[in-house]
Point group: C2
Chain length 326, copies 2
């Protein structure tokens, strides 16, 4: 099984030794960033909606975006996969192909360097992503300063709209996912389903933003309102978002009209939320980034505002929020 899965993976250039031994061996340039994430059938994805290829793609994309959010360049992924005993090997091959394709398209030079295969009651995939900083310091969530501009790059709200659509149109009354309507939905709403099932975050812009002087950065995985709140708290500042800027920058994405509430509460786009000094904005933000607000000194009040009014952090939190039917 492992041999068939490995055959779908291109070697990673940074790996001196790839899969097959006790460990892979890497030679990173500069300091190294590391992130890990698990996707489990049920809480994190529905097999009825995700083919193996999409699932592998999303596994790679969501971890690559965490590497990008530090200003690093991804150099390798590991995949620990545990599946029910009756899982067809073809599904595992599709997952590997999807991961490989996401690496090639979103993060050229990155590849799967190792993994582990076992059994589990439901499909369980844990990915760790590694990136190199190439001599630059990491961009954390904690560096935003009063006077900075708040900017975002990538899709915003499309993935959440895709999830809402799937629960509305591809689930039974009890919330059970099905694939019966999926072909028609894909034909009618290709962009928002792709954003949910196989997101394509702007991985390469992470290192670009760092080089341009980003003071803080994170990927938006849960929702803009939740993650902006996290960045504001980590930096000890307040973020003032501007509805008109959001509408101008993200009101129409890939031909889809996206309302501001979807931008603020939809998760899983995995775009980059960053802050830049005003001087960077004056000279022009890095291509792909759009200004959506300003950083001001922290006050006693809410950490994030929209047009001056406190913004409640709302979106996906597996311990707090249940999606309809979840």
């Amino acid at each position: 099984m492992l041999a068939r899965v490995l055959a779908r993976l291109a070697p990673a250039p940074a790996a001196l030794l790839g899969p097959g031994d006790d460990c892979a061996v890497l030679r990173p340039s500069g300091e190294l960033v590391v992130t890990t994430d698990t996707m489990i059938e049920g809480p994190d994805f529905r097999a009825a909606w995700h083919g193996g290829f999409d699932l592998g793609w999303k596994l790679a994309a969501t971890n690559l975006s965490d590497v990008a959010a530090m200003g690093a360049r991804p150099i390798g992924l590991t995949l620990a996969l545990a599946v029910p005993r009756d899982t067809p090997v073809a599904l595992l091959e599709e997952i590997a192909s999807g991961m490989n394709a996401a690496c090639c398209e979103l993060a050229p030079g990155c590849g799967v360097i190792g993994g582990d295969l076992g059994t589990a009651p439901v499909l369980t995939a844990a990915v760790t992503a590694l990136g190199e900083l190439a001599g630059r310091p990491a961009v954390t969530r904690a560096g935003a300063r009063a006077g900075d501009v708040v900017a975002y790059a990538g899709d915003l709200g499309l993935a959440g709209m895709g999830l809402s659509l799937l629960f509305a149109e591809a689930a039974d009354a009890d919330g059970t996912a099905h694939a019966r309507t999926l072909p028609a939905l894909r034909a009618a709403h290709p962009e928002i389903l792709a954003a949910q099932l196989a997101p394509a975050p702007p991985i390469e812009l992470g290192a670009v933003a760092a080089a341009a002087g980003a003071t803080a950065m994170m990927d938006v995985s849960d929702s803009l309102s939740i993650d902006a709140d996290r960045l504001a708290r980590a930096s000890g500042v307040r973020l003032e978002l501007d509805r008109a800027w959001l509408e101008r920058g993200f009101g129409l994405q890939r031909g889809v009209e996206v309302p501001v509430p979807a931008m603020l509460t939809g998760g899983e786009d995995h775009g980059l939320l960053a802050t830049f000094p005003a001087a960077v904005q004056a000279a022009g933000l890095p291509g792909g980034f759009v200004a959506i607000g300003r950083v001001v000194a922290a006050t006693e009040r809410s950490e994030v505002t929209l047009d001056g009014a406190p913004l409640q952090p709302t979106g996906w939190d597996p311990y707090v929020v249940r999606w309809p039917g979840a």
Copy 2:
């Protein structure tokens, strides 16, 4: 929840940035080794037998041993934990405490650098371990040469005896694990239960063996017969194990008599199987390593022999072997 878990973890000296951002940041010395492994309630462990502390300890120990097997020094672990919604936070704290204790005792200088917390139908833990080579090349499975000595360091067979004992004495007729007899078993057989539930492999001997000139090395996770076969195939050699040497070196461990079949087929000890040039043996193997056989040129016949007779690879393989009741 995350804050309570993180409070149980000591900072890792190699981490420039620990848990809490999109990624951890590390500054490794020399090249980096990476390994990943998942433990899932059911196929990989029984919650009735493992307390949280033991489970966290074993999660760390089994991944640290893969790092050691490359000749590297562990510098960091990530933990992606997914648990049922009704899991007490205290269990997660115990898992973190166990991981932290294993790092402190088995691999001083290593610590948990990051993680992820989510939900799953059963307790699911994925660990990635990172190690630094400090200027030395990695020791792979592929470097054994005819004329080398085969050596082993660590417990051998005790963990497998512990698993057999648990299935015999702490499981119902249908194989369901229970804890009713556990206190009595722990009192009567403390060493073999500890070897199974919270193994203590000789992590620090990995770098020692590399410095002493080990030509090949791997950790024995499935069984000596299975893993020696893998090393022989990767190196293109034959390993001739010697029953008398096994008996002399490992017949009595921690006060427990261990029969040779248990040494050959028991898994999960996570000790180090290594090959060294004859000159190293002549000068004295590194402390902790015991000679158990010789490397000879490959033949058409079996890759591993015991006293000249072919040795069938037998032991734990989740896709082939089912333990009684599993």
